[in-house]
């Protein structure tokens, strides 16, 4: 498997970044759920990790965006209707936007609550805003709404991939899977 993308599939770098970010996003949801049920003490640990992973996701998504912009993308299936190409483009754009906005909204929320974000204890992020408690609850709502939107988009994204794979029987899902033989070369 190649590092870079080819016309018939994403390379190792793009695939790794895609699935690592996907896994981390799921883990973020698990951590957020756990925090809600936890004691205040445990919350500090869980949310500390949630913030560090959020920053990791931001960095990996930025890396992936740069990688994809620098390399070509696999060819879409032949005869793919134009509206579906546009829909796919739009879905991916919104996905990226949400993956960037979620950590940013969390970062601003933390700063508003005068809780600077430490990256796994290695370094501390600067505060993007000075403490302003009245922003915390609205930002929490925004963070939650962004995640709800992300969930909806991920469902559409996954459904589209499965539709291509099982109904249209083309290679779109395989572009993002390692080691699977292409139906067409």
């Amino acid at each position: 498997m190649q590092l870079g993308n080819t016309r018939t599939g994403y390379g190792l770098v793009a695939q790794s970044l895609h699935w690592i970010v996907a896994g981390l996003v799921v883990y973020q949801f698990v951590l957020a759920q756990r925090a809600e049920a936890a004691s205040l003490f445990q919350q500090l640990g869980i949310l500390g990790r949630h913030k560090s992973i959020g920053l990791t996701i931001f960095a990996l998504a930025a890396l992936r965006l740069a990688w994809n912009l620098a390399s070509s993308r696999p060819d879409p299936p032949e005869h793919e209707p134009r509206y579906r190409l546009i829909l796919a483009r739009a879905t991916h754009a919104v996905l990226y936007a949400l993956i960037f906005l979620l950590p940013v909204s969390g970062w601003i929320m933390s700063a508003a609550a005068n809780t600077p974000v430490s990256y796994f204890g290695w370094f501390t992020l600067p505060n993007p805003v000075s403490p302003r408690q009245e922003w915390v609850e609205p930002l929490q709502a925004v963070h939650g709404a962004l995640f709800a939107t992300l969930t909806a988009i991920v469902i559409i994204h996954s459904a589209a991939a499965l539709y291509h794979h099982f109904v249209l029987k083309d290679d779109v899902l395989r572009h993002m899977l390692p080691g699977l033989r292409r139906r067409k070369s």
Binding site: S39, L40, F41, Q42, L44, G45, L47, G48, K51, A113, N114, T115, P116, V117, S118, F120, G121, W122, T124, P131, Q133, V136
Partner: protein
Amino acid sequence: MRSMLLLAITVGGAAQAQDSAAPLWQTGADSTLSFIGVQQGAELEGRFESFDAQIRFAPEAPAAGRFEVIVAIASIDTDYDDRDEALRGPEFFDVERWPEGRFVAERFTSAGGDAYEAEGELTLRDRTLPLTVPFTFSAEGTDATLAGEVAISRLEFGIGQGEWTDTTYVGDEVIVRFHLDLQR
């Protein structure tokens, strides 16, 4: 009437005599008492909005000084109500039982220049422990600035009970910072 007046003059004179050894300074409204702790690996800053500082000090005669600072613990402010509420609660300061913190110092030594050290006792919750506080004192006419910082261990004072004795998420060391604008 005359004896009353005489008494007043005498008392006034006595107070003045003490003033010259170590005057009592009025603490200005811009004075601050803040602290920096570590939460989730990042520095967290907060302050006590309400405290009363009785500062008697003369740079030329530090030994005659006396500090008594009483802090209204409930006035703690870390810019986030949920956290402040937790800090006031039984697991941290327990302000219902111990509403005041207190620092009293009666031994002072010069550390060169405008630097001094106050040896005293700090009381937080139900624990009183010796504490030496380095500070600078610079006077200009009737104004003076008293500033410094000192590190304390929150756990030595029992601030953080139960699971909070674990310092993984909230560090033990807290830097206490003070900046007093004084006038006489």
